[in-house]
């Protein structure tokens, strides 16, 4: 089945539901959904490439930390992304942490070309759900706006 993301109702903020064939693909979808909260993601070019990574002792924290990296790149370098490739997540026995590596493509925010939607304050743990099944992974995650 094709990967996708959708926005779900939430009283104050916004919930992204992302679906992928694998957990990695579901995470890629969350990133695109996140960018779509900030701007019209289809207008974002892919001319800049960045390696974005995270490590954490469990998957929830890994996903929250990884997505927060995108807020960091936006606030410090005004970078938006429209293409993400997450490498297979590995568990490091030595540090007892999950390791996530990705290559993301995007460009600098330009208010003349990129629609200004809403700023994301944070990636929350609230009602965060990660479901990994054999042929389908799903993530439900709420962003504080």
């Amino acid at each position: 089945m094709p990967n996708f993301y959708e926005f779900k109702e939430h009283p104050a903020d916004i919930q992204v539901h992302a679906v992928g064939n694998t957990l990695e693909e579901a995470i890629e979808q969350v990133v695109i959904g996140m960018m779509d909260i900030m701007t019209s993601v289809e207008t974002v070019d892919t001319k800049i490439s960045k390696q974005i990574k995270a490590s954490a002792p469990d998957l929830e924290m890994l996903v929250v930390d990884y997505l927060t990296e995108y807020l960091f790149f936006f606030d410090t370098e005004q970078l938006l992304f429209s293409k993400v490739k997450v490498s297979p997540i590995e568990f490091d026995e030595h540090t007892q942490t999950y390791q996530l590596n990705s290559v993301s493509n995007g460009e600098s925010f330009d208010s003349s070309r990129h629609e200004m939607k809403t700023e994301i304050k944070a990636v929350t743990y609230s009602f965060l759900e990660i479901q990994q099944k054999k042929e389908k992974s799903e993530i439900w995650i709420i962003f504080d706006l």
Partner: protein, 490 residues
């Protein structure tokens, strides 16, 4: 959950056990205190529509919580804590939870008065709002017009509003009209991560987006003329300016860093909590102390931020009206925080105790003669600023004695969302909302039409009812009702 009416505007969920799914486990948690909702029947019906009651009863399970977990009349679902929530916990044995403050640490409101009359400035409003929109950057990725150095940033984090005033962004007296005199004592920039500093450094003096705004208002009704006079408000039609913003990405990252630290801490100390977003440690633990110091730094950033915006508001008025802000009587009436943790003394079961008071979307509302109320306002009580949504009224109230009895000295903080952003955006076009507001005589200047749609007036609860509940409970007394003339927002 069963909720019972125990008095006018007071509802209670009694102490009980809760069964909660934590990861893949089903776990049992005990509410240590009842949960209370301060609302009228109409607002309670709205509050019941989302997960507010579930969240506030989770808060009632936090270690060391005293009296009751409180949801105020503007309450709605948040993350972990509900918005419009208050929790007081034992100073040392009780929980300190970054989720009880939220990501936008020291998000708050300030009110500036003028001696201008609305009828005399109507023609100038479009020019004024354009100027304000230009001087106070807002919207996605907004950055302040000033670049501060790293050493200045440290001073901002350590001294709050003092830095801004010393550097020419305000009047000496502004400080005494801020909660805590505009600086949390003990804040230390050394404990703030490099990540938080680099996210926040360019954002000082900017509004951000969402529900943050600079609003030009007029006094529409004065309920208490004697008290209003103390605040320099003398007649209907008088023009005021309200600013609503917080600590920007600095606070967001400090909260995120702290939540990560709490995640490790709850494992280390084996602390059980019903919702991961409520991760906490006890007040006497090192992690709690570190959080309080960091949160103070973020709060100081927010105060400096609102102070610099105030400066640019005054400068905008100077340019547009070609008068000195002093001659326009542009004094700060007050600045309040509505996302904050304070160590305060309260009466619990007849005993005076020091508590960790978490206010998540709640405004401090100390009564007359409370030692922490600014000297000039001692006889009337602390000003309580309760903004409405875009296009609706806002209130200037004063804290009343009952707040110390029933809400840890706190009041509702705003109108509180009723419609989700996605629903509001489906329902409205930004351009139509703009037209509607214009018809009502309100100019709006926004970075994004999407934000205008998401913030449409009917997305929020009725501010008049929200404030009336606080007033009827004796938490606050209504002093002045303000209505918007023009709004600049992200």
């Amino acid at each position: 959950m069963q909720i019972e009416k125990i008095d006018d505007n007071i509802y209670e969920i009694s102490k009980q056990s809760k069964v909660v799914k934590v990861h893949d486990d089903i776990q049992k948690f005990d509410m240590l205190v009842p949960a209370r909702v301060y609302a009228n029947e109409f607002l309670l019906r709205k509050i019941k529509q989302d997960k507010t009651l579930d969240q506030i009863s989770n808060v009632a399970c936090l270690p060391g919580i005293k009296k009751y977990a409180i949801a105020l009349s503007d309450a709605h679902q948040g993350y972990g804590f509900c918005i419009g929530g208050v929790a007081g916990t034992d100073l040392l044995e009780g929980a300190i939870s970054p989720g009880g403050v939220g990501y936008d640490i020291n998000c708050g409101v300030r009110l500036i008065r003028t001696n201008l009359q609305s009828k005399n400035i109507i023609a100038t409003i479009p020019q004024l709002i354009n100027r304000l929109f230009e001087e106070v950057p807002s919207g996605l990725g907004s950055q302040g017009q000033l670049r501060v150095s790293h050493s200045d940033l440290d001073k901002i984090l350590n001294t709050g509003v003092d830095w801004a005033i010393q550097n020419g962004y305000g009047w000496e007296e502004d400080k005494i009209y801020c909660e805590e005199n505009g600086a949390m004592q003990g804040a230390d920039s050394n404990l703030v991560s490099k990540k938080a500093k680099s996210r926040g450094i360019t954002q000082i003096g900017s509004l951000g987006s969402g529900n943050h705004f600079v609003e030009v208002q007029k006094v529409e009704q004065i309920f208490e003329p004697q008290i209003a006079k103390v605040f320099g408000i003398h007649n209907e039609g008088q023009v005021t300016v309200m600013v609503h913003t917080g600590s920007r990405a600095m606070g967001h990252q400090i909260c995120q860093d702290s939540l990560t630290e709490m995640e490790y801490a709850i494992k280390k100390y084996n602390i059980r909590i019903p919702d991961r977003q409520l991760a906490c440690v006890m007040g006497n633990m090192k992690e709690a102390e570190d959080y309080f110091i960091r949160m103070g730094a973020a709060a100081n950033f927010a105060w400096s931020n609102r102070q610099m915006i105030t400066h640019w508001v005054r400068e905008s008025f100077r340019k547009v009206f070609e008068k000195d802000p002093e001659d326009m009587d542009m004094h700060l009436i007050y600045d309040i925080c509505h996302n904050i943790l304070k160590k305060e003394e309260h009466d619990v079961d007849g005993k005076r105790m020091k508590l960790n008071v978490h206010r998540k979307g709640a405004t401090r509302a100390f009564p007359p003669n409370h030692p922490d109320v600014a000297e000039k306002y001692k006889s009337v009580g602390q000003p309580v600023l309760i903004p409405g949504s875009m296009g609706t009224a806002s209130y200037l109230c004063v804290g009343q004695p009952k707040s110390m009895e029933i809400s840890f000295g706190s009041s509702a903080h705003g109108s509180g969302r009723e419609l989700s952003r996605t629903k509001a955006m489906k329902k409205h076009w930004g351009s139509e909302v703009r037209k509607e507001l214009n018809k009502m005589g309100i100019s709006i200047k926004a970075a994004s039409d999407k934000v205008i749609a998401a913030e449409a007036p009917d997305a929020y609860k009725d501010i008049d009812q929200v404030v009336q509940v606080s007033h009827d409970l004796g938490i606050v007394k209504k002093v002045v009702r303000l209505v918007p003339l023009a709004v600049a927002k992200g």
